[in-house]
Each structure stands twice: as C-alpha cells, then as structure tokens.
C-alpha cells in the first residue's frame, strides 16, 4: 500500500470544492487512510496488501521451481521444501486469490457500478480489512515459529500430529475467513439495498453479478471451513482427536467438510475473474454481451452447483462408490455453466468494434487457459481418469491453469483496465502488451509440462523425483523465470505510471459501464451529480450524451 501515491496531481492552482476533489485528495494523512470508511480507499488498501502477499507467494513458488531443477536436493532440505509448498498454497489461496478481485476491485467498483455512494456498512468494511491483516499476520508469524508443513489442505491425522506451527497458521486462516465473510455480507446487502434509481437487477454491470454470486459462496461456505479448522486446531494443540482414527474418528469426514468449503472456494476465486472478463470484453468490443441473462444467471448457477461437487476431490480417498458416482455426475453440471459463459464472451466479440488493448490481450489468454484448465478439470470428474491423475502434477497443472491462467490473468486484466479509474493515469500500452505476452508464454511453458509430468505419474508434493522426469521439470522452471520477468516488468511500468503516466481522463476506454461515468480518480462520494443511468452499461448503439462529469 505504500507504493501508491497519496496525492493526485491536480491542475495547479485549480480551486476545488470538497465535493469535487478526488478520493485521493480529500485528505492525505496516513491517519485518514487507516481510519477511512471510503470503499475506494479500502479497495486501494486491499490492493496494496494483496500485491504484497502475491509477491511473497510468488517468491515461494520460484523457490519450489528452483528446487526442482534437479531430481535430488538442489537448494533446500526436504523440511524446508515441505514448508515452502505449504506456505505457497496457504498464501496464494487465502491471502491472495480469494480476496484478490472481490476485495480490491469489488470494493472499489461495486458501489460505483450501482450508482451508490458507498457500501451498506462502511465501518464493517474497514473492520474487514483489519481482520484480514490480523489473520495474515498470524499466518506469516507461523513461518517464523517453525513454519507449517501439512500442505494447504491440512489433512488430518497428519495435521493433528505435525509438530509445526499448525494452530497458529490455522487460526490465521480462520480469521482471514471471518474477513471474507464480512466482505461478502457487505456486498450482498449493498447489491440488494444500494442500487441507484434506474439500476435494476437486469441493469447492473455483469461484474456486480459475479461479485454478488461470489459473496453468496463466501458467506455460506466459509463458516464450514472455520468450524473444521477449529477442530483441527484443538486436535493439534489440545489433542481432542475428533478425526483421530485411534479414538474412533474418521479422517475422511474432515475431507468432506474441508472440500465442502474448498471446492466452492475455487469459484470464489474464479467467478470474480469471470466478471472482469465480461466487463473487459464488452468495453473493448464496444458491444452488448451476447446474452446478458445467460452470463448473469450462470454466475448464480455456478454458485449453487459449486456446492454439489466437492466429492470429486475424494475419488480415491475411501469414499463409497455410490457417493463418488453422484459427485462425478454433479461435477459435470457446473462445467456447463462455465461453458455457457465462455461461449457468450466469444460471441460478444462478433460484430463488435474491437480494439486489442492490454486488458483484452489478457482476456484472450484467460479464454484459452481457462477453457483448457476447465476442461481438464471436467476430465478429472470422468472418474477412472482421476484415479490415475489424483494427487499428481496433472492436478497441479490443472488448478494452476484455473488459478493463475484464469484468476491471476483476469486480475491483471482488471488491474490494467481499472488502473486509469483508480489513479487517473494511463500505463504504457506497448509495454503492457509485451508483458502480457511474456506472462502468457511464461505461464504456458511453466505449467504445460506439468500436465505431462502428471500423466507420467509424478506425484505432487515430491521433494525428490525419479531422474526421468528431469527434462520436463527443467522446462517448467525456465518457464517460471519468464513468467517472473513478465510480472516484474508489469510492476515496474505500473510504478512508473503512478508518477509519470499521462492523465487518463474520466473514460479513456470509452466504456458505457457506470463506474466510468465520473471523474478519474472519482470524487469522495463517487458521483458529483446523478449520472445518466437511462443508458445501460452495455448500450453501444448510441453515443453517451455527455462523457465528462
């Protein structure tokens, strides 16, 4: 958060009334940021925090890839390696991916997209950020008191027996989960009660729909995780042994409860990304979505059906064949909703007026990677194949295609797309395109070989591996370096643009969506006068009456 300037360059000497000053300008003290209830500032606080956690998680990822350069120990011990992949997972899942788009962009954009002044409960919103920080600090603290070596899934009985800082890290995750619930609750109530005149349910930008669906999952799934993590905490710390087989416990039940949260959590991560795709595609194609209702309702469909499929993580866990079959067929349903979205996005492009800018380039990467990653996911629900793939690098590759190829790509698309709105400045377009290409290439080279590794049978979470896998591992590691270069160049030009980027103006992309109908950066209460919401967020058949506020 320290990377963002607290001041915004105003035209020198221009007198500004408080109502017209941007949210960055109204007050610039550190105190005004730490005690702010402005959803935009909270969004910026989240964005800064999340970029930091992402960098940390990325550092662990690079270390893991480096370790796999050779089949034998390369740079670290097995103990260190086990802590590294656990922390990579915990940080990336709970401290980056889950809050990434909702908490940063959702906080910033959702009220503006509804024409509201703020979220329904602004102080709760700030509290949620502080709760997140407390949880994140606890998780990071656990690294200093022995780390945690259970894998991000915390399966008992191993997690109950592990001598590492399991209780601390799990409490951290529990608290982060509480923050997620508060944010989700806030967004649901905001969407219900804060829509401005003229913004009906079917006039909301599609990003709102996806955040709304995400919030539903957050609110309903997270408590189950909280409960089950608490049981593991007391198991590890006090020896209550609820999942301990020697006391009659059943570790498979833990897996049920854990995946009841963690499978929907996949949609917590990817649904907001889908919302970004809907926005970016419409804006750069200057076209209405091929079917607004299909995209909107499929978000809700994913939120619901996502809860019915958790068992496909457990096909070889000792679940009954009947239950496994039921979960297999239910898993097929959820993929259909995603497929509907993909076809709608693609067909939105048809007969549009397409300008290939950096965000759209990222969206194209998203389309390819998400379809590939998604369908390999469906493939694992074809159950006999999962018996071979389960817990191998195939699964690792699959969910990285979704998490990185899907969510991170969409996150970067959103970052480029909304950067002018949040800061009032433009980034260098050519560097953006170049970095996007690097990120895509690096990602593909990193993770595609992992599909092959998994097919060949390489199990995940292996510190050492048989020598015949080395070639593919080396390719993967080299790919991770390309990916890192792409991300770092992105970071550099964004930092440069904060200071020296050209002024963006209120609506540099010519979007019709509601958040662009005010100044960039927006004033404290978002809109200085009631914007013309009669023209819908995707109506490109007529020019906007007045572009500037």
């Amino acid at each position: 958060m320290t990377t963002l300037p607290l001041t915004h360059a105003a035209p020198p000497g221009a007198p500004r009334s408080a109502a017209h000053a941007s949210y960055l300008d109204t007050e610039t003290t550190l105190r005004s940021w730490l005690l702010t209830t402005d959803h935009k500032r909270i969004g910026v606080l989240y964005l800064g925090t999340l970029l930091a956690t992402m960098a940390l998680g990325g550092f662990f990822a690079m270390a893991i890839r480096l370790e796999h350069l050779t089949p034998d120990p390369t740079v670290m011990s097995a103990m260190t390696y086990n802590r590294m992949f656990t922390l990579h997972g915990v940080i990336m899942v709970w401290l980056f991916l889950i809050p990434s788009i909702p908490s940063a962009f959702g906080n910033f954009m959702l009220p503006m997209m509804l024409g509201a002044k703020d979220v329904a409960f602004p102080r709760l919103n700030l509290l949620s950020w502080y709760v997140f920080i407390v949880g994140a600090v606890l998780v990071l603290l656990s690294t200093f008191v022995g780390g945690i070596d259970t894998g991000w899934t915390f399966y008992p009985p191993y997690s109950a027996l592990s001598p590492t800082a399991v209780p601390l890290a799990l409490l951290g995750v529990f608290i982060v989960g509480f923050s997620t619930i508060l944010t989700g609750l806030n967004f649901i109530v905001t969407t219900h009660t804060m829509r401005a005149e003229g913004v009906g349910w079917m006039q909301m930008p599609l990003f709102v729909w996806s955040i709304y669906a995400t919030s539903i999952i957050q609110v309903l799934a997270t408590p189950v995780l909280g409960m089950v993590l608490l049981f593991v905490v007391v198991d590890n710390a006090l020896g209550w042994g609820l999942f301990d087989p020697s006391r009659g416990g059943d570790p498979v039940l833990y897996q049920h409860l854990f995946w009841f949260y963690s499978h929907p959590a996949v949609y917590i991560m990817v649904l907001p990304g889908m919302g970004v795709v809907s926005e970016v595609v419409a804006t750069y194609a200057r076209k209405n979505p091929y079917s607004y209702k299909a995209i909107a309702y499929s978000s809700l469909g994913i939120a619901f059906v996502g809860f019915l499929t958790w068992g496909h993580h457990m096909f070889v866990a000792g679940m009954s064949t009947f239950d496994a079959g039921a979960f297999g067929v239910l898993s097929m349903l959820v993929a259909v909703f995603s497929a509907i979205k993909v076809f709608n996005w693609t067909w939105t492009l048809k007969r549009g007026a397409i300008a290939l800018k950096t965000p759209l380039l990222y969206i194209f990467a998203f389309l390819f990677l998400f379809v590939f990653g998604g369908m390999t996911g469906v493939a694992t629900a074809a159950m006999s194949l999962d018996v071979h793939w389960h817990d191998t690098y195939f699964i690792v590759a699959h969910f990285h295609f979704i998490m990185v190829g899907g969510t991170l790509t969409a996150f970067l698309a959103g970052l480029h797309y909304w950067f002018p709105k949040m800061t009032g400045r433009l980034y260098p377009e050519r560097l953006g395109m170049l970095s996007a290409a690097l990120v895509f290439a690096g990602f593909f080279v990193t993770f595609f070989p992992q599909f092959l590794l998994g097919n060949a049978g390489m199990p995940r979470r292996y510190f050492n591996y048989p020598a015949e896998f080395q070639v593919l591992h080396v390719v993967s590691t080299v790919g991770s370096w390309v990916l890192a270069v792409g991300l770092m160049s992105t970071a550099i030009y964004f930092l440069w643009s904060l200071r020296w980027g050209p002024e963006a103006g209120p609506n540099p992309w010519g979007s019709r969506s509601f958040e662009w109908r005010t100044a960039s950066p927006p004033p404290k209460h978002n809109f200085t006068r009631t914007p013309p919401f009669e023209i819908g967020p995707y109506d490109y058949t007529q020019p906007l009456p007045d572009e500037a506020p």
């Binding site: 097995a78 549009g352 006999s384 292996y462």
Partner: protein, 352 residues
C-alpha cells in the same frame, strides 16, 4: 495405443484396465485441446474481422437466440455426460475386485510399504505378484494417510489409518512397476517408494519355493514369527495363542466366552440388535478392531479392541486361520481342540 501413450507421456500400460482408461484419456484430452483452440481461434478471428475503425464507433445490439443457447448447452452437457458414463463404468471396474482375486495385506507407515502374503511371507517395499492373476490389496496405515499408487497399472487408493481400503489389479506384462505414495505424508513423502515385481508363472512358482534368495535383493523379514516355512494358517494359530484369542474363542465349535471360530467363516450370524450379517473378512477384521459394533446375539460386550495391537500381518494370519476352519467337523461332544483336517488347512491357504 503406444503412439497415444507416447503423445500423452503415459507410462506403459501394465494392467488389464490400462488400455481402456488410456483410450478415454486420449478422447478427453483431444476434445479439450480442440475446444480451447477453437475458442481461442474464434476470438482471434473476430478480433481481426471486426477490428475497430473509429474510437467512437457504435455497434448494433446482437443477442443470443434461445435455440442457439439450448443447442450449445445440450451439446456440452451431452459430451460431459458421455465422459462421465464411460469414466464411471471404468471406475466401478477399478474399484470392484473379481471374486477370485488373491489377497495381499498391505501395511503402510511413514515411510515404507509392508506386504504380507497369504502363505506367510512378508516383504518390505517390494510386492511380488504373478502375471495374469487378479491381486486384491487390503490396506491399512499405521500412522497418517498414505496413497498406494502404481502409475503403470493406472490404480491408486488412499491408505487410511483405522480403516481398511482395497485396491485390485491384474498385471498383463511381466516386469517391475514403481509404487509411489501419492498422499503427502511427511518429510520423506517422496522417498516412500516401492515396486511391484510381476513374474511369469514359472518364475513366480520358483519365487514361492525359494523366496527372494533366487531373485534380486532379498527384503528383510520384520514381523516376528511370520517368516520361515510355516504358512499363514499356522501363523494364525501362533498369533491366536500369543494374543490370548483362544482364552475366549474355541477352534472346535464349543461355546465359550466368545463365539467359536469353527465354521464361522462365511456363515450368517445374528447380532444382538437382530441384524444378520455374513461373517466375511470384513466382519472378522471389524470385530477385531471394533468388537462392540456388532456383538453376536447371546454374548456380552466385553472384548477389547485390538486396533493398533495387531499388525496387518497378524490380522491376515487370524483371518486365514478362521477361514481354514470354515469346514471344520461338527463338534465331537466332549473333546476339546481337535486336530485340524490337513486338507482344510491347504484350502484355506493361497490358491495356487
């Protein structure tokens, strides 16, 4: 088939189920490649075809037709359901062992695999099986969750503490296949490897006679009393005496503190709550681990749990002993502990 495996980087298919699974694999991945390329290419084509000409260009409103949407949904759902139908049938095949499979007991612990064969042999990390025979593994873990994975057979099953899980395969090519632990189990997880050694019938017979001495790398013998010449039934008698089973259970059909073991195996037993169960391997092992779950009518709840006290090898030996007694003669009144029929012992042992 081999070309398909090469493209997909799959290991050789050493089991009877591998070919059909790999075919589905090729089908599924082919469709996936096709669809993602198609979506990407379509998007790219639209980008070129409908390139923006003016910054404030307007577009007309285009919306989906209901029929088009329904068609796409039906197509996708149909494809996915087809995958599931094929996959589920294969899954059932993978999970459901043939009834004539040979049983090998597997004991997993951090970080090794132990195998106990029906003839009393045990081995560590090397599982020796004959070619062309279905093998059923009955697996349990001593500590945390492990997962028994043989990529060459396309089989995998988590090995749980406190509960038996099974896995079966039938090798169709002789040779060695690596075993890997696929569920993270601690610091040496990646060192928990073993191998399946598939031997031709004559080779296997030689191994059964002479043990590993005639083959490479003799695994050490760990379980007390389980090595050497004796078969599993004899070992079962030893265990029954060592663990004081015979204090309550008789081997000759006489009623004592607990039910007798004679003619117990495979018979139908009435429990105290009125349920009727068949005394199979499942029931017997459960009765050792959770004696009070299914108490036989007419007996009291008093047997302690042997969970953790009996090793997988010992459980195997006891079950084999009880199985050998299924055809024991009716109790000759008054005479205790009759000598067992030799033929019954042989039938109780491993099939040839």
């Amino acid at each position: 088939m081999e070309t398909l495996r090469m493209i997909l980087a799959l290991p050789r298919g050493g089991s009877t189920i591998a070919d059909s699974i790999d075919l589905l694999h090729g089908f599924v991945i082919g469709v996936t490649m096709l669809m993602s390329t198609y979506v990407f290419a379509t998007a790219a084509w639209f980008t070129i075809r409908y390139h923006r000409k003016r910054d404030d260009q307007l577009t007309e409103r285009v919306t989906a037709t209901r029929r088009g949407e329904a068609f796409i949904i039906a197509g996708i759902l149909g494809t996915f359901l087809l995958w599931w139908v094929i996959g589920f049938r294969q899954y059932v095949d993978v999970r459901d062992p043939p009834s004539d499979a040979d049983i090998v007991y597997v004991d997993a612990k951090q970080w090794m695999w132990k195998f106990a064969y029906a003839d009393g042999r045990v081995s560590n990390d090397v599982l020796t099986v004959p070619l062309g025979r279905p093998i059923k593994l009955v697996m349990i873990s001593r500590d945390v969750i492990h997962s028994f994975y043989v990529p060459g057979f396309r089989v995998k099953q988590d090995v749980l503490p406190g509960r038996y899980t099974t896995l079966w395969f039938e090798a169709k090519e002789a040779g060695t296949y690596p075993i890997w632990c696929a569920e993270y189990c601690g610091v040496s997880h990646s060192a928990m490897r073993g191998e399946v050694r598939v031997l031709e019938a004559d080779e296997y017979a030689r191994w059964k006679r002479a043990g590993d001495a005639k083959l490479a790398g003799a695994p050490p013998c760990r379980l007390p009393g389980a090595c050497g010449e004796g078969n599993l039934v004899a070992e079962g008698r030893a265990v029954a005496e060592r663990r004081q089973c015979v204090a309550c259970h008789t081997l000759d059909g006489q009623k004592h503190i607990g039910p007798t073991w004679a003619r117990l195996y495979g018979s139908e037993v009435t429990l105290e709550d009125g349920r009727r169960v068949v005394a199979d391997d499942a029931y017997l092992t459960r009765s050792m681990m959770e004696p009070n779950a299914d108490v036989v009518a007419g007996y009291r709840q008093m047997m302690p749990s042997y969970r953790g006290a009996l090793s997988a090898g010992e459980v195997a030996a006891l079950v084999e002993l009880i199985r050998s007694l299924r055809d024991a003669p009716a109790p000759p009144s008054g005479i205790a502990l009759p000598r067992l029929d030799v033929t019954a012992v042989k039938e109780g042992g491993a099939p040839p």
